[in-house]
């Protein structure tokens, strides 16, 4: 009886392995002209990340002959490299990166394997761009520059300083991610505070990079940073509760607060801000909750990157007048109430995104130029 049971278990395990192998071997076969694009993501849960994914998978894939293949949440450079190699082995013709652990390595790897590479919703720093702008397979970058990130944080800080806030909790999201470092530096500057005696963007950001976090003892000025936390893990709830216990007047976040903390902050009755995107859940948070400031991107803002990649794969690799990969900066939209939120959300929703097929078609084709893409990005 016992032997029989063991045999049964063995058969079941062997069977599941065989079925798994068979399933892997029966992946759907794509049409020859279908473009296959791998997307590197560091976040799979956030409001912004889900909005971006829905736009590519539900809208772009429906309207163009393209298939997107997403990674799991990538935590480090090694994961990014392994993901690129996996995409290459699966026949992807291009990689779009929303993950920023080591973008230089990503470009180098794509160049090595001869697959096109583009950065969405972010850009390389100036020095890196100078290094890689001439790479053959670098299709370009579209997103907020580091200066734009700093200004977004600064505007948020200034908004609450004008409201008369004197005590704040600060969430640094995923510092040392450059995007979050520059936003945090901006928040400190916007509050009118200094960090280690510095008030200049590059000096504050440099110190945060060195510290790998915000050291609250180095923040000086009229607005006290009562508590600071960053990242997300086993201890985050404890850190958030500790921050709430210090009774800050506002909880300032440079990303992901609306994903992780909305319910807790609503329950605690603490107003909060975030730099994220215009999604349904964030709309509920600003209309019915305590979200009082949202600097966001709209979900289809990653449309132009797709256009650059599709053109490159189709043979029209777009370059500027000097022959370099294009680099376009995008700015943030700000909502402080339900009405201003709806103004952006309603115009970029589901089947009618701002970068719709009709709009994107104006920059997809064999005769599209750098200037045409630049004009479109700057107009939106």
């Amino acid at each position: 009886m016992k032997k029989g049971m063991r045999k049964l278990l063995n058969i079941a395990l062997t069977g599941s392995m065989v079925l798994g192998t068979a399933a892997a071997g029966s992946m759907p076969v794509l049409a020859d002209d279908t473009i296959k694009i791998g997307v590197l993501v560091a976040d799979v849960s956030g409001e912004e990340a889900q909005g971006f994914r829905a736009y590519y998978e539900d809208y772009i894939a429906e309207n163009y002959d393209v298939e997107f293949d997403y990674t799991e949440a990538l935590a480090d450079a090694a994961g990014e490299k392994a993901a690129i190699e996996k995409f290459v082995s699966q026949g992807c013709q291009a990689i779009i990166s929303l993950s920023s652990s080591d973008r230089a390595m990503q470009i180098e790897t794509c160049e090595e394997y001869g697959v096109y590479y583009a950065i969405a919703s972010g850009v390389l720093d100036a020095e890196q761009y100078e290094t890689y702008k001439g790479y053959e397979y670098f299709a370009g970058q579209v997103g907020p520059s580091n200066e734009t990130e700093f200004e977004a944080g600064k505007a948020m800080g200034e908004y609450y300083k004008e409201q008369g806030v004197t005590s704040a909790a600060l969430y640094g999201a995923f510092i040392p991610n450059p995007m979050h470092v520059y936003r945090t530096a901006g928040v400190i500057a916007g509050l009118g505070d200094t960090y280690g005696g510095a008030s200049d963007m590059n000096e504050i950001a440099g110190q945060i990079f060195a510290d790998q976090r915000v050291d609250t003892e180095k923040v000086e000025g009229g607005v006290e940073i009562a508590a600071y936390l960053q990242g997300y893990g086993d201890t985050t709830t404890d850190e958030l509760n500790a921050a709430i216990q210090k009774n800050p007047e506002v909880f300032l976040s440079v990303g992901m607060a609306t994903t992780f903390f909305t319910q807790t902050l609503n329950t605690a009755g603490i107003q909060f801000s975030d730099i994220d995107s215009f999604t349904e859940a964030n709309g509920a948070a600003i209309k019915d909750g305590k979200l009082t400031y949202l600097a966001g991107k709209y979900s289809s803002s990653i449309g132009p990157v797709f256009a650059l990649v599709k053109n490159a794969v189709d043979g029209n690799v777009i370059r500027d007048a000097e022959g370099n990969a294009p680099s376009f900066s995008q700015s943030y939209l700000v909502a402080t109430d339900g009405a201003s939120f709806d103004a952006y959300y309603v115009s970029d929703n589901g089947d009618s995104p701002i970068y719709s097929k009709e709009v994107l078609d104006t920059v997809i084709g064999s005769d599209v130029t750098y200037e045409a893409v630049q004009t479109l990005v700057e107009a939106n």
């Binding site: 063991r6 849960s45 404890d238 850190e239 509760n241 319910q263 807790t264």
Partner: protein, 333 residues
Amino acid sequence: MSTSKRIAGTFAIPVIAAVILEAVCLCSGQNIITNMKSFDNFVVYTAIVMITTMALSINLNSGRFDFSLGSMASLAAVTGAKLSYALLGGGKGSAAAMLVITIIAGIVLGLVSGILYVALRLPPIITSLGVTLIYEGILYTVTGGKYVMTEVQNPSMAAFAGTWIYAAVIIVIVLAFIIFLFDCTAFGYDYNALKSGQKVAVNTGIREIPNAVICYGICGGLMGIVGFLSAARNTNINGGQLNFGSIAIMFTAFLPMFIGSYISRYSNEKLGYLLAAVCMSLLNSTFAVFSNKITASMQSIINALLLVVFLIYLNNENLFVRIFSSRKSRIGE
């Protein structure tokens, strides 16, 4: 042992911990419990630690090391969250529905783990590692590696996590249930007999296999409660815990388990686990007071150091007593 010595022995560690930690907080002009919100957190955290400790100790005291507790908690919580959301859409009664479904799911997962253990006849540490990987894989498949948030973010769950009362009720019910089950029933007598001497107990006719499977089922149910409490506290469930990512949940219970076992010399072992959980929660609240100075990684180091120090004490207790006694007698001379 006299009653006064029993009382003193039972409450010595929690009282000493409270006095030391409060003194540390007072040095910076603060208290361990600063307001009602911190008290809510204190009670909820106590409940999580106490129940996890009980779940860990049930099998570990019988020589069965179970790595799968964390994965059971997460998978049971996701099952409860998804089903309760499908039934009620996050409306009234969602928290209660999720709690019930999560406990049932936890019991089922625990029973499956127990049945695999007795069927495969592999060392429990190996079986539990396999079960952990399987449950984490199922969790990842169900959630797509994402945090489960929509299903656990609703007014019902917010109301549950917003007060200490529900967590306190759960502590009382679980404590009473576990004490009754293990100290006052035939199952409990069998369990204690097997724990003390497995071979002798089996020779007397106690059926080891059903007892072990039921133990796994109880552990699963307890971890279901932990999964629910954690989901209410964190307002999400991490669905991306692959490659033993869920094991950390179990390790939070080691120090309180040893402290609880020490307290059990003077009183009921399960009461010891509650008092040990109170100690851990006091420490956690102190970390909250100093959150700007003590980072998460420093907290982990402090917890690990405390565990090592306590184990050193437990393993050299007689030596310490001898040293202390000889000094005392020298002072007397």
